[in-house]
């Protein structure tokens, strides 16, 4: 634990390829390590929820502008979540298409489950849960490729390597 945490260090420096905050939150290219993924994800989720909660509590009646603002915040959170997850997949040397499996497939299984028999429904729910756990481990817990991969340099070594 002697070294300072790297996850907050994100200056703009194209020479060292160290990511700035706007790239980290909004870009779909490059790689992102786990600590920055969680820091950015949790921070933006809390800020977004506070904004939406503030709008909901402050409004006696739903003003169209406030509804539009809440919707914009919601869409921004979805964008940020996608950008963070895609960069984590890149860090794992995986294409962004994997999000179809990790994000979309469990939802599809939940939708079609009740339309088929109850036994199949339980099976589909278990498969969906398994995919979600796999996604959690893959995107949030497993270390990225050591050294450069086809999506960019190792985010844990750029700017620190001699």
């Amino acid at each position: 634990m002697g070294k300072p945490l790297r996850w907050g260090a994100a200056p703009t420096n194209p020479k060292t390829m160290v990511m700035n905050y706007s790239t980290m939150l909004f870009s779909f290219t490059g790689r992102l390590n786990r600590a920055r993924y969680w820091l950015a994800g949790i921070t933006t989720a809390i800020v977004g929820m506070l904004i939406v909660l503030g709008i909901a509590l402050g409004a006696g009646r739903a003003h169209p502008a406030e509804v539009a603002l809440a919707l914009a915040v919601f869409l921004a959170l979805i964008w940020i979540n996608l950008a963070l997850a895609i960069k984590r997949l890149h860090d794992r040397e995986k294409s962004a298409w994997w999000l179809l499996l990790f994000y979309v497939a469990p939802s599809i299984l939940e939708v079609i489950g009740p339309r088929v028999g109850s036994n199949v429904n339980v099976l589909l729910s278990l498969v969906g849960a398994g995919i979600s756990i796999w996604a959690f481990l893959e995107i949030g817990c497993l270390r990225g490729t050591v050294g450069p991969n086809s999506y960019g340099p190792d985010p844990l070594h750029v700017g620190t390597a001699a």
Binding site: L5, R34, C141
Partner: protein, 32 residues
């Protein structure tokens, strides 16, 4: 039934939190 569901959810959440903390700590010391 409700107790079992709550217990399972609690254990799963704590396990997930432990995984996240381990991952973040590992990122802090990538070479060790």
């Amino acid at each position: 039934m409700a107790t079992a569901v709550i217990s399972f959810t609690l254990i799963a959440s704590l396990l997930a939190l432990a995984f996240v903390i381990l991952a973040i700590k590992e990122d802090d010391e990538p070479d060790s």
